[in-house]
Amino acid sequence: MTNRQAKLMQGNEACLEGAIAAGMRFFAGYPITPSTEIAEGASERLPLVGGKFIQMEDEIGSMAAVIGASLAGLKAMTATSGPGMSLKLENLGYASLTEIPCVIVNVQRGGPSTGLPTSPAQADIMQARWGAHGDHPAIALYPNSVSEAYSVTVTAFNLAEKYRMPVILLMDEVIGHMRERVVLPDENELQIIDRTKASVPPEEYLPYKADPDGGVPEMPAFGEGYRYHVTGLIHSENGFPTTDAEKTAILLNRLMKKIDNNLDDIIKYQEDSLDDAEIVLIAYGSTARSAKSAMDMAREQGIAVGLFRPITIWPFAEDKVKEIAGKAKKIIVPEMNLGQYRYEIERAAAGKCEVIGINRADGEIITPEDIFEKIKGVL
């Protein structure tokens, strides 16, 4: 297996390589710490594989260019961090409503505003779900290692193409800048999903015709002879604007059902030592690494601690968290924010067990010792 050499890679580099392996051939971006290495890498790598890179005039424009390129038939991605993510939201909402597949990477840094540009944070969790205005579906994934930065980026593209929607790949400054030994999979072993092109001739094609119960419409590219209309206004299945209440409800319902009907396909997580766990740590991204170490420290002392690590942040693994809350005595949620995901976990736990946060939003990571101390404190 000569092509499975071990490499020393940075999280941002692995994300880019995963994207290219998934078929990404268009990247539009704008410089921002700590995601810039993804744009730099894309500018170098894409022309080598027949792809296109462009540095746009701003974050809004780069999100717009990504959507345009996707409509023109290329798998497309952009990468940013907090201040840029806030600007992407306008066209992220557009991509949700118009069902244009694309991937948006947010390497999180301290906020709000310009915040702490070179420090890690996990404070854009709720933004990833609710940032764009209006009711809309959301998928957000979060790797916890360099290796996963590669594989989860591939998954992000697959979900974007399969469900025709923007997918947010959350990372944090630690995952983005960390270097680790990785063994990348052989590209031939990867499962790659491409959007479904039109199965009917142009005269029969309706761009938003799909099963109202969460169906995904077919998507030919601009230039392939289908001459359809795309608008950010509420539209009927023919793609043209409507203000009809029933048609509006059908569209929004279908968009939400794309997620709700496919939770098992979309939700990925890792369980570690949950069977006998009295205390369950729920952690994601780089904080899950500290949680894993804290769990090992606790287990060494005979404390029954388990770890639940969501890889899919949105949609939320509600059933799984309910199950955990029904069995565990306590749930501890360490996160580099002031308790964003904890709100969601408390909602699912619904009082069945105590949910305790460990929170930092000061640019410092949560260490294994911080978590271990909390475990001992709640015993």
Binding site: F26, A28, P47, L48, G50, K52, I54, M56, E57, D58, I60, G61, S62, A64, A65, V66, I67, G68, A69, S70, L71, A72, G73, L74, A76, E90, N91, Y94, A221, F222, G223, E224, G225, Y226, R227, Y228, H229, V230, T231, G232, L233, F240, P241
Partner: protein, 272 residues
């Protein structure tokens, strides 16, 4: 009687359009399709991209690949399309507010890149869709619903702005000079790089009424009386040009086009 031109290029089932009686936007839209028709462009390869506003509803009526985007962002979406597939003929329909206020950054950078997009600015000096607020092209002193005592802002000259930013073709037409407008759009499409055509339109409903400009016919007459062709203007003394504005091809200076330059990089890498 609907003309064959309209039948050939409009989505007839999407008519009637939403524009007010007397609005000039239908004339500009016709000039766009007339230019496309005369150039015999392949409908399947034409993408019409718009932002938000009265102008930006035009693509919905037209039988091409059409994209109605977010406010001000049409040129950025169009840049993605053109860069992804340079074989597509990308035409942007925008308004004065859409392209020179909220979308001003995208305008100057599309011009700077000289990317092969033709933008037609339906310029009616007002935000019509929202009911008549002053825009970056509302003349100083004129009124809007947000300038009840007269606008103290100075207006943009969209062509000068685009030229300064690097556009390789700029032109101005009006809805009175419809044939000229068609020619200018045609030449804009033929120019390989970034082209912008400032299409001076009329909004009798909001701008006209608020500023006592009379009905649509009066406003068209005003365009006729105040527009001076750039060739004629060159021979006129300055005092004769006071209060007038220039129409015609204002600037044409072919420059390397963005996607062709990118292709050169890709090909040089392939040759190793």
């Amino acid at each position: 009687m609907t003309s064959n031109l309209v039948k050939s290029y409009f989505r007839m089932d999407k008519l009637p359009h939403i524009w007010c009686p007397g609005c000039g936007h239908g004339i500009v839209t016709r000039a766009v399709i007339k230019a496309i028709d005369e150039l015999e462009l392949d409908k399947d390869k034409v993408c019409i991209v718009s932002g938000i506003g009265c102008s930006s509803r035009a693509p919905g009526y037209l039988d091409f690949n059409t994209l109605h985007t977010t406010h001000g962002r049409a040129l950025a979406f169009a840049t993605g399309i053109k860069h992804a597939n340079p074989d597509l003929e990308v035409i942007v329909i925008t308004g004065d507010g859409d392209c020179s206020a909220i979308g001003g950054n995208h305008l100057i950078h599309a011009a700077r890149r000289n990317i092969g997009i033709t933008a037609v600015a339906f310029n009616n000096n007002i935000y019509g869709m929202t009911g008549g607020q002053y825009s970056p092209t509302t003349p100083t002193g004129d009124k809007g619903t947000t300038a009840p005592y007269g606008n103290i802002d100075k207006g943009f000259d969209i062509c000068k702005l685009a030229q300064a930013a690097g556009a390789s073709y700029t032109a101005r037409g009006t809805v009175y000079h419809a044939q000229l407008l068609t020619r200018l759009i045609k030449n804009g499409i033929l120019n390989k790089g970034f082209s912008i055509i400032d299409a001076v339109s009329v909004c009798p409903t909001y701008y006209g009424r608020k500023n006592k400009k009379g009905d649509a016919v009066k406003m068209m007459e005003w365009l006729k009386d105040h527009a001076v062709n750039v060739a004629a203007a060159a021979k006129l003394p300055e005092e004769k040009l006071a209060g007038k504005f220039l129409i015609g091809e204002l600037y044409h200076n072919p420059q390397p086009e963005y996607t062709e330059e990118y292709k050169k990089i890709t090909e040089s890498l392939r040759r190793g």
